[in-house]
Symmetry: C2
Subunit: 294 residues, 2 copies
Amino acid sequence: MDFRQYLAGQQKRVDAELDRLVPPETAPPETIHRAMRYSLFAGGKRIRPLLCLEAARCVAGPAEGAVAAACSLELIHTYSLIHDDLPALDNDDYRRGKLTCHKMFGEAMAILAGDALLTLAFRVLATLDGVSDQARVRMIAELSEASGTAGGMIGGQVADLEGEGRPPTAALLESIHRAKTGALLRASVRLGAIHGGADAGQYQALSAYGEHIGLAFQIVDDVLDVEQSSEALGKTAGKDAQQRKITFPAVYGLAESKRMARQEWEKAGQALDGFGERAQRLRELAELIVSRTA
Amino acid sequence: MDFRQYLAGQQKRVDAELDRLVPPETAPPETIHRAMRYSLFAGGKRIRPLLCLEAARCVAGPAEGAVAAACSLELIHTYSLIHDDLPALDNDDYRRGKLTCHKMFGEAMAILAGDALLTLAFRVLATLDGVSDQARVRMIAELSEASGTAGGMIGGQVADLEGEGRPPTAALLESIHRAKTGALLRASVRLGAIHGGADAGQYQALSAYGEHIGLAFQIVDDVLDVEQSSEALGKTAGKDAQQRKITFPAVYGLAESKRMARQEWEKAGQALDGFGERAQRLRELAELIVSRTA
């Protein structure tokens, strides 16, 4: 199966599972379930769930049961987008070409919908079928750490907000991005590794892969914000410079940033050497991440 | 030891554990840890942690290890207060006589501090010492359900917001309050019961106790909003009527509401009959809940 077909199939699988995990729009209180679903099904590429599923496959072969675990990552990712878009934070009206959650449902509902998706992510992991309690607990610990303040997503978001207007240094840049996007991308492969029963070596190799694609992902994000139009991105372009954010292009320039993204992509591929053919889809996902245009 | 001394001692114990669980104000990014701690140590009575500790004691005797589990409830409770106080929701400037989190740290930081406390609650349970993975998973499942949209705290909050201005019916009132405050109070005793290794009968009895005090708690809250001054409450009084909320006094009148609170308190006590003397503190906590004046 070619990569595009594979991608479409897996995204459909993840979407079907998300649909199963989130209460229907008809379940009271209806409004919040509508708001949660609106943002969850707004056309996300499901990169984090796919990383989780493919990491599980690397260690355990086709991992049918891992799809719910994979969805927990999309729940966290979506909550973070809803809250980031709020007027008090990035104040974005559009995301993926659609109105943001608070523009559709109001700020109160957007705040609560984010809270609800975050809460649901942990519920999904706690009630996961077909794995041991020990695996569930490890996944929950990893996901909460990756989403938290100390080196995790929220910590990166705060450092990013506070970094606005500060002199852009390489050290500050790296620490922000490792936390803000890197931690959750690494957690995505780690959850798959835990689900698949990875040994210490496999876990480490997949973690290294996750770290390199995490960095590559963020570099590309920063480059796209400079080079692409708002229309192509489906969100407001050029906001980084406007808000004086610390970005890779600001620190290294555009050409060097692109070279760095390629380098991280290469290192990600090398980390997978021990898995041979089984890691083919993870290599393709890494390629997708560095070559994306939106 | 008399009840006041006991209360002060236990609150101190919970505060010391919360201090251990939340990153210090000096840990980067400092601002969010300051914001989290500001709201967490703003003078809460620690009712939920105490319910958890006492439920554990009922089934297992002095439960030293349960204090971290107890703290997870205060983390959830505090996050919910921070988000509820935001301008888009209840728009409160004061809480417990102090400025609310967003008034002190700005809206962006208050949103993120709430997210961080919510995330930390699950991390605390996933890394709990001295219990089985099975118990950890059960506690996480219970806490996430009690905090979620389907009959949980967020669901109650949404129903409450949407109920403003609707005809106040008894059925709507009860469903809102069971979810909004009742679910987390019931979860407090349930986490203690799970931690202590309760059998099915003990778990059910403690759950019943939790449901009755949950309802009593909310009735008293509604009554206080009518009868007390803002100064005594440490927050804006009379907001329920102003926002046309569905409350017990609005549906039943003040006198009948007070009688109902007493009745729930009695039923809570009856649910504890099987525990004898061991449940003395839980009876006193129920008394504290119905007789509080702020």
